[in-house]
């Protein structure tokens, strides 16, 4: 750190606190910003992410809604046409499925199909669940759907720093932004600067420098990739972890540069394998950097099956840190290590010991 550089950030916040602070700061500085969603002002406050806002800004600006996701998304769009800047919240991504018409047919295209006459500054937060038996309809990570649609921006932060900086950028953006938060990141701590700062949309970030294998990772898998990097460092293997952060528009430059250096690519995504975002990352690198690859790239994703509820099955569903490490060793021709034995009743269905159900 030089004298001219930014001050070292020592303040640690949880991911959820960073989200909360972003909302608070945006509402304080811009009266057009308002939050809406089922339960947004309630006591649980969307896992704490909207905590304290209704006391500060009132029920109009922290608007509870009927169970009417499609209409409420259209309502948000209509309010945005009046110059408001709505932040919608779905406590589970699945609930946003009810609003696909408004998100895909309307919000995504409104600016384009009306020849640029109007803009839709709209943020739609969606929480992806995992563990504690969230099961088939509370743990889908459908970012690929949204990233497929031109006109939407799709953001998935992985650190408390980025959660705040990306959410502020999303709220200030004049386009519909799908902002997907992984539930298992909510309790992660990290340095978060005070006040308003922005992490630009559309730019990945090299979270960890390394020479041997590139891991392009999304959301919670970014955290898993840094854990794998820690593990492999003990063996002299350096992972370079590129946090994708924005899936649409996706700028592959950093991944390409990294692969040019390492010659190896693992893409770690929280979504499904087939036709998923990991395939998009692989495609772009193969199209533009095939000569740099020493081995075929590898996707580490959820398998193409619905998420089972019982941990006796979900324990074998999600890719683990050990899968990333094993893949890196294989790509580098290092000897395989014995795979960790996972018992059916192992408590892999919680991110840490503080996490308990029901959500």
């Amino acid at each position: 750190m030089t004298a001219e550089g930014p001050p070292t950030v020592t303040r640690q916040l949880k991911f959820v606190q960073a989200l909360n602070e972003a909302l608070d700061l945006c509402m304080a500085k811009d009266p057009r910003v308002f939050v809406m969603g089922l339960g947004a002002p309630d006591a649980a406050a969307i896992f704490g992410s909207t905590r304290g806002l209704v006391e500060k800004y009132g029920r109009k600006r922290v608007l509870d809604t009927p169970v009417a996701e499609n209409a409420m998304t259209g309502v948000a769009l209509g309010a945005a046409l009046r110059g408001m800047r709505p932040v919608m919240t779905h406590i589970r991504l699945e609930f946003a499925m009810l609003a696909i018409d408004q998100i895909v047919n309307q919000a995504a295209k409104w600016h384009y199909m009306f020849g640029g006459r109007a803009a839709v500054p709209l943020v739609i937060r969606m929480v992806v669940g995992r563990g504690w038996g969230q099961g088939p309809q509370h743990s889908q990570s459908l970012q690929s759907w949204f990233a497929h649609v031109p006109g939407l921006k799709v953001v998935m932060p992985a650190t408390p720093h980025d959660a705040k900086g990306l959410l502020i950028s999303a709220i200030e953006d004049n386009n519909p932004v799908v902002f997907i938060e992984h539930r298992w990141l909510y309790n992660i701590h990290g340095p978060v600067p005070e006040g308003v700062y922005r992490v630009p949309l559309g730019r990945p970030n090299v979270l960890r420098r390394g020479r041997h294998v590139t891991v392009a990772a999304i959301s919670y898998m970014t955290l898993e990739a840094t854990r794998a990097a820690d593990e492999l460092a003990k063996e002299g293997i350096e992972l370079e972890v590129v946090d994708i952060r924005t899936l649409n528009p996706f700028d592959e430059t950093l991944v390409l540069e990294s692969v040019r250096k390492t010659g190896h690519l693992i893409v770690a995504d929280t979504g499904w394998r087939s036709v998923g975002f990991a395939a998009e990352v692989v495609s772009r690198i193969v199209e533009q950097g095939l000569a740099d690859l020493k081995q075929p790239p590898v996707r580490l994703t959820s398998p193409d099956i619905p998420t089972p509820t019982t941990r006796a099955l979900s324990n074998y569903y999600y890719p683990l840190v050990s899968d990333i490490s094993a893949t890196a060793r294989r790509l580098l021709g290092r000897p395989a290590k014995p795979e960790p034995e996972i018992k059916p009743d192992a408590l892999l269905d919680a991110p840490d010991s503080t996490f308990s159900g029901p959500f």
Binding site: F34, G78, A79, D101, P150
Partner: protein, 326 residues
């Protein structure tokens, strides 16, 4: 007993209906040239609803519409040149050629937008009304849609939300008895009228003749005053009839889906013929005045068509423009 609109409003409404009819008749003719290459839904026969409702609205007040939107766009004061240019896919079109007939917009005239996904603009209009609440600006929004939209879940979701917050919004349902070719009685129970759905949501709801401009004007006036005055949303069902095929410029009698005599019954209730006769009888307009109106409208249409035809197509670089707002 319906009260008649004041003479100046009556003249304006007659002119408005004639203008919509003549514009669409011109589009009908020009469509055969195969240069307007977009799906086009004609409002011929349904002009009185658009005109009778919009006669109350200020330029700043807002409306949304759906696939059959020409009448609403024109009645609200949408730019005719920009509309025709849009149908021709020209850069000077109201949506820069990217929308076509099904995506009209004119923000300066308070026309927020029209889209062809049935029911989709209902919550968007309600959202504009929520904006009024949040901005502490009681500006009214009117949402136009057809009978089919009342079958979509989003209609009920939107009306419920508007009722909860007493939003300044008037929903106008043009019940033309068909969704494409499917009659109402195959889609909704015979013993329940559409406006009763809105009553169930606890809002002011009325049903009226949509082919009589005076009736539309009076009923809309009550609803609009109610919503403007903080009384909450209102819902209006106007019975009317589509003369042409669902989409396109042609008659469709040969398809046989209309019961015998139905078309002729409604044709005899042509909203323009009906109103012209009444205003003549009341000595509000004379034949010469109607003829002069028709001539002025024809000139205006000539100008707009010439403008649209002479306008350039969007340049190739516009393909990628407007993906994201700056």
């Amino acid at each position: 007993m319906t009260r008649h609109a004041p003479a100046d409003v009556a003249r304006r409404m007659l002119h408005g209906m004639m203008r919509i009819r003549f514009v669409e008749e011109r589009i009908k003719t020009l469509y055969a040239e195969q240069e307007m290459r977009c799906p086009t839904h004609f409002s011929i026969g349904q002009e009185a609803v658009a005109v009778g409702v919009c006669a109350h609205l200020t330029r700043e007040e807002m409306i949304t519409s759906a696939h059959r939107s020409h009448a609403h766009y024109l009645a609200k004061g949408g730019d005719l040149r920009a509309m025709l240019a849009e149908l021709y896919g020209k850069a000077s079109g109201c949506a820069a050629g990217k929308g076509g007939s099904m995506h009209l917009v004119d923000l300066a005239a308070g026309f927020l937008g029209a889209v062809p996904i049935v029911g989709s603009t209902i919550p968007i209009g309600v959202g504009a009304a929520l904006g009024s609440l949040l901005l502490d600006d009681p500006k009214l929004t009117v949402v136009f849609f057809g009978d089919g939209a009342t079958e979509a879940g989003v209609f009920h979701e939107s009306l419920n939300f508007a009722a909860v917050h007493k939003l300044p919004v008037v929903m106008v349902c043009e019940n033309n008895l068909y969704s494409v070719l499917t009659p109402l009685e195959w889609r909704q129970p015979r013993e329940r009228e559409i406006y009763q759905l809105a009553q169930g949501h606890g809002v002011l709801a009325r049903q009226a003749d949509g082919n009589d401009a005076d009736v539309v004007y009076e009923v809309a006036g009550e609803a609009i005053e109610h919503a403007r005055g903080g009384g909450g949303p209102a819902f209006l069902e106007f019975k009317t009839y589509r003369w042409l095929e669902h989409c396109g410029p042609n008659d469709d009698q040969h398809l046989g889906y209309r019961p015998p005599g139905e078309f002729e019954t409604w044709l005899a209730r042509d909203p323009i013929q009906l109103y012209t006769t009444r205003l003549r009888e009341q000595a509000i307009v004379a034949d010469a005045e109607v003829a002069a109106m028709a001539e002025r409208i024809a000139d205006e249409i000539d100008d707009a068509v010439a403008f649209a035809k002479a306008s350039p197509f969007p340049s190739r670089d516009q393909l990628t423009a407007h993906l994201y707002a700056p």
